[in-house]
Subunit: 257 residues, 4 copies
């Protein structure tokens, strides 16, 4: 068992994928395979033995498994000095603390856990939070395929909350709105004071627009996601960055600065 | 009193404006003045005498006055063989029938009454009605300044009704929508089965987007109005066309074909 | 050999696909299979025998083959009274005349040949041609993936030509443009006097925006195509309509009215 | 002559406007007048005496004059301890150094000089520069009224340069582009390797879209300016911030963080 800190750069680029037969895992394998500076050395799934990953000399592991499996995988990685990039869901504050505990004993190891690897979506949220305190008005319009069960989307709700927090911090009151005569629902959902509209139509994939307005001008930040593959640049970014960031990093934000 | 049918083309282009000191009237005076083929020969308002218009030899009158004044103005025009273009509101089916009655006695005179002189808005509605039966899904997003009292806008409501009628005629059922978990209002207002979302923000003027979706593609028709002046091309079109269209024409649609 | 005019409606919905193993052909098979009112009865490709289609009792054939094969296929269909929907490219005026000749002898048979089965794209072009004469200004922005070889796209060029013809017919001169100081290329390509801009970026699929402007307002018609599947609603529409339209129909336009 | 550092907060909000009869100056007077926390105490223009500003006890001066007049005005302000917000153009590095020299002797005085007071435009450029290194592709589409003389706009050119610098720093090569068959101009102007397209149409005011693309997704940042009034929130922000920022601040960017 070699500590990753002792590895040369060539070895650090050896990547193992856990959950390799899932939809996201398959995309990750393809993306790692196609990246000239990375080598896919192990692709395992439920039922496979993790020692395969160790034997292959993986320096970084990407985990898109299940909430049931991910904690065991992570402890295994940290103990062996293997960096980890995690897209599996279900991380509570408690779980994050547990990971921090393991990492305290292995100061050279890095773990990146992100709920969203879409670079475009993460930047949209960052920019929205930054713009929020400079505009009197803001509304969100998200657009998705009609098979979606929730309205608004999780991303839209999260964006609205970031904006609401930034407005509160800047001392901004409610956006002006003289509406007196409303057909129910026309003005959208109220998420912490921010109006959010959810459009559903066949042909759409996943889109979001954040519209800011002040006297005489508007600023619009729009994200269009067409494909599951859109998460791959973010996963590859994390794989490249995790080796330089010991400890726990939550969210893609920190890697984008 | 000369019948307009006996006038030469030069005279037909002599234009009088009623309600000339109102906001729309002032724009009309400016627009007529700026058109090389039209001459502004009379600009009257409340308190002025209509004989001024007759004396000036106006062949076409544009009326942006009030529901109280417009019927008297119109009867005066029709009786004198002066064509009329009317943007004043408040026309019921009853009032339109009264105008038709006057025109029956003066077969050469034309009257155009339109609730909306925005060519862009009228074409948007025409196109939306035409596209409606070819797409599984459709939603409307309208965007206005925050001083607006009603939500959705009258134009959005009207567009939704045109779309709903076209869908019904084509035998289309409701658009697919799997939403199960909705924050109240997120899915917009339901206007005859068409979802309409109303965005309000400082900086916006008057905008509307109609989004159609079917397998793998969307078609969007968007109208942006920045200025009251946007109604002027429609008013000038009507002034030029009314002399060739005896009888009553309601709406700009007919003039756009 | 039965003439299709003698078939009942149930049989008319029996569909055979030629070129069934090509990319478009496979999509057509899937789409026909998924349509409740149509039945996929034959799927043949290069090397297969067309008698398979006859034996299966197909009333309509969809041809997505090659310019080399399509004329023989079409003659075979027309002679046997089988309606045909053709997406294969390479139709010259000469070829169309040949098809008209065959159809003259079989007055009940319908053939629909269309270069583009995207309903959204066809409507975009129709609406653009209609709007053209009402606006002083018009420009086209098309956006595609960066693997595309031509700029602007064929659809954009075709749209520009339709608009230019409509402007000429309406007596409109060139759109106003005071540009004096231009970095080469900034104002786009000049297609019959209409400016066309071609954007290329990873992540994009196939998009086009036609922007019309007049005093104080703009009208924008936008088409987004995400997927080859976007042609299927147009193909199915043609399959359903061809049985009611004897003779040759070129282009989807006629079927959309 | 009182140093502004000795003034209480109430006095610091006393604002004088230089160039008050110019188009921008008039807007500034209106905006200051309408702000509850600011008081317009002097509005002077060419021919007026600056002592009027001093007599009125202005703590902050806003200068929208001419390159000829602005340096004398600024020296006068700095010497008297009056903070200054400057929108006048023509500042070279040399001129900025001269201002820094004056300020060195008056450490409590603040001067903000900005070429663009549009908060939306400045944020658009900031966000574009930040996003640049995370996307394989980027292009700019700017849209303006047809009376504009230059193409592309100064803002678009500046944005392209910021993006090009960020891409170079991140080690990104040219964006992928397989175009082989181009109608001249279709692919836009090349500004430091970034493609920029300039649309001109009646009805438009001033708009810009920056489109970033990577695998499966795009991020679009769009700014719409409808009105000269759109610069006022930026001017007011500078007036409020300049009193807390001794020394020279160039550009609105620093005030937005």
């Amino acid at each position: 068992m070699t500590d990753v800190r002792e590895k040369g750069p060539a070895e650090a680029a050896r990547v193992g994928v856990l959950g390799a037969r899932g939809r996201m895992g398959m995309e990750v394998c393809k993306a790692v395979d196609g990246a000239p500076d990375l080598e896919l050395v192990a692709a395992v799934d439920q039922g496979d033995d993790l020692t395969e990953v160790a034997d292959a000399g993986a320096g970084v592991v990407v985990d898109f498994t299940t909430p049931d499996a991910v904690m065991d995988n992570l402890r295994w990685c940290v103990e062996r000095g293997v960096h980890a990039v995690v897209g599996t869901t279900g991380f509570t504050e408690q779980r994050l603390d547990q990971v921090r505990g393991w990492l305290a004993d292995r100061p050279g190891v890095g773990v990146v856990i992100a709920p969203n690897f879409g670079i475009g979506a993460v930047l949209m949220m960052q920019f929205a939070a930054r713009a929020a305190r400079h505009f009197e008005s803001v509304e969100i319009v998200e657009q998705h395929h009609p098979r979606k069960l929730d309205a608004p989307s999780g991303t839209a709700t999260h964006t609205a909350r970031l904006i609401a927090a930034a407005r509160a911090e800047a001392g901004l009151g409610p956006a002006p709105d003289a509406t007196r005569d409303e057909v129910a629902g026309a003005r959208g959902a109220d998420i912490d004071g921010v109006r959010v509209h959810a459009v559903r139509a066949t042909g759409l994939v996943a889109h979001q627009e954040v519209l800011f307005g002040t006297t005489g001008e508007t600023l619009t930040i729009r994200h269009d996601s067409y494909d599951r593959a859109s998460f791959m640049p973010g996963v590859l970014l994390a794989v490249r960055e995790v080796v330089r960031r010991p400890g726990l990093t939550v969210g893609l934000d920190a890697l984008l600065d």
